[in-house]
């Protein structure tokens, strides 16, 4: 059986907030990232899967078993929180061994299992310590070990890295990727950080106001966002235009700009144009190399988000977003008002017809 989790027509009513109409399947070994604005119901969704909330209707099937009405302890689903939720009155060892004690009675076996996972996550040296004395990164590794050591059928993580600094975050990401693939764990990971999506997920779910807007592979969602809202949320340039020429190259007129695309669309169609910001090269001089699209504009805003620098440039009446790694700032210095050239290839221009 390929799919391990089957959520069908799930509705949860919490009075002030509902999640509605949730239907999706997760395949064995999938790594699903759930994204969406704050308050969109991501935490409630995964806590419902874990068994905290009783659905008003719908069903949750895990590994062929209907778990909709099972209490959390009968589901075999692991959960890792942003604030780690380590038991403060137990040592790190006892935290990790907590779930094992329910499954294994032989003490030597428990010790062996704990040591094995502790070694994989690089926390063998802190097993005797209390959680409150640990750094955030260490605490999150303990929380991960505690959840994984019992080999859950499904691992749920709610913003597991968001309380960590940038470096620790990327180190933990690697660790999670390795351990999860070694244990062949299926994961649903709620996050606000697209870096998690890029480096961990094979599928993305976009949630908004208690509903799923789009759920598909990472490529599909980022290449073909199903709505303006999704496109805007996943940080993609969205423009509207009309196709003026559709021979071997498609030309779209957006205001008084012309953009070339490789997508085939009939002449005269009204289209949405999507371009990922990191596909746009921003230069201060007109490049020698032939790009199919070179637009002239002025820098309007610069934002340093740590892993990426975002530059907004105004081209005529259109605001375009470009993203690049901070390294480039060592060579070029962008300031607001600078004249710049935005260069991108026709392959990277996605067109969607709308009526």
């Amino acid at each position: 059986m390929k799919s391990i989790l089957l959520v069908k027509d799930l509705h949860v009513d919490l009075g002030e907030f509902k999640i509605e109409d949730i239907t999706f399947t997760v395949d064995r070994g999938d790594y699903v990232c759930v994204i969406g604005p704050t308050g969109s119901g991501k935490t409630i969704l995964i806590e419902t899967i874990a068994g905290l909330y009783k659905p008003k209707r719908g069903s949750i099937i895990l590994d062929g078993e209907d778990i909709t009405d099972l209490p959390p302890e009968k589901r075999n689903i692991g959960i890792v929180y942003q604030d780690y939720a380590l038991f403060p009155h137990m040592t790190v060892f006892d935290n990790i061994a907590f779930g094992l004690k329910k499954r294994i009675s032989k003490k030597s076996e428990i010790i062996r299992e704990v040591k094995t996972i502790a070694q994989k996550l690089g926390i063998e040296h802190i097993l005797h310590r209390r959680p409150t004395t640990l750094s955030g990164g260490e605490q999150q590794r303990v929380a991960l070990a505690r959840a994984l050591v019992v080999r859950p059928k499904l691992l749920l993580m709610d913003e597991p890295f968001s309380a960590l600094d940038f470096k620790t975050r990327s180190r933990l990401r690697k660790l999670v990727r390795d351990v999860v693939s070694e244990y062949n764990t299926t994961v649903i990971h709620v996050t606000h950080d697209f870096e998690d999506v890029w480096s961990l997920a094979n599928k993305v779910m976009v949630m908004y106001r208690g509903r799923i807007l789009q759920y598909d592979t990472v490529e599909e969602v980022f290449n073909r966002p199903c709505s303006d809202f999704v496109a805007d949320f996943i940080d993609i340039n969205v423009m509207e235009g009309v196709v003026t020429c559709s021979n071997d190259k498609t030309i779209v007129r957006i205001g008084d700009l012309e953009i070339m695309s490789k997508d085939k669309v009939y002449e005269g169609s009204r289209v949405k144009v999507f371009i990922r910001p990191e596909r746009v090269l921003i230069l201060k001089y007109r490049p020698d190399k032939k790009f199919e699209n070179i637009l002239e504009g002025f820098v309007e805003n610069i934002e340093n988000r740590g892993s990426m620098i975002y530059v907004w440039a105004r081209v005529n009446n259109i605001l375009m977003k470009c993203a690049f790694t901070p390294n480039i700032l060592n060579i070029v210095d962008f300031r607001i008002g600078d004249k710049v050239y935005l260069c991108f290839r026709s392959d990277d221009v996605r067109l969607f017809v709308f009526s």
């Binding site: 068994g51 959390p72 692991g78 779930g99 329910k102």
Partner: protein, 258 residues
Amino acid sequence: MQIGFKHLCIMIAIVIALILFSSFLCLIVLPSPKEIIESLRSSEMMFSLKLTLISALISTILVMIVGTPAAYALARFSFPGKKIIMTILDLPIAMPEVVLGLALLLLFGKTPLGTFLKYLGIRVVFTKIGVVVAEFFTALPYAMRTLYSTFETISARYELVARSLGYGAFETFMKITLPMARSGIIAALVIAFARSVGTFGTVLILAGGTYMVTETLPVTLYLNMSYGNLGMAITSGLLLLGVSFITIYMVERLGGRT
């Protein structure tokens, strides 16, 4: 101006503390030691002390047994009527003790409940059981307030994590929630005991404050005051003061750690 106002506030705090402290000092310094030792050895004082400690102990245990799950329910779950229940349980804190005592007296006296208990051979009114019942209802709201806020500060996430690891609701409560609530539970325990020991009005009305029968320390103080027996009154006052000091000390010693 700022400095002047600051100093004025500090002065008020110091003066009021001094007045209060002087009154405690009077209790310790004014009576003669001989009088106190005599009072301590009187059979009335021995009886009163014993009854106070035993009844307070029983009432504290009952308060914790009832209050812990009830406070947990109020802190963790939402259910119809929760607001009203919380208000009712809080009411005795704002209510004069004598009124609470009177209400309990009527409940256990004339109603079907009272008759039923009498039929079972349990007499509450004007008995030692009445002492425990009076202390229980006086102390319960205070303990529950502490327990409620303790449970409320413990995130339900810990419980969900424990349950996702295979532990049932009751096991999770015993293994995770209770140990995490340790300091709050100790604080509630001490408060319940202190309230039980010091209850006067409720005990007086419900249990009657009868000489050497339902006589707890506060009642001893009151009875001897009205006979003009100052030595006995001061001695029971000192014993009660001692309990208060030990209480505060215990809260700071045991309750401070998490």
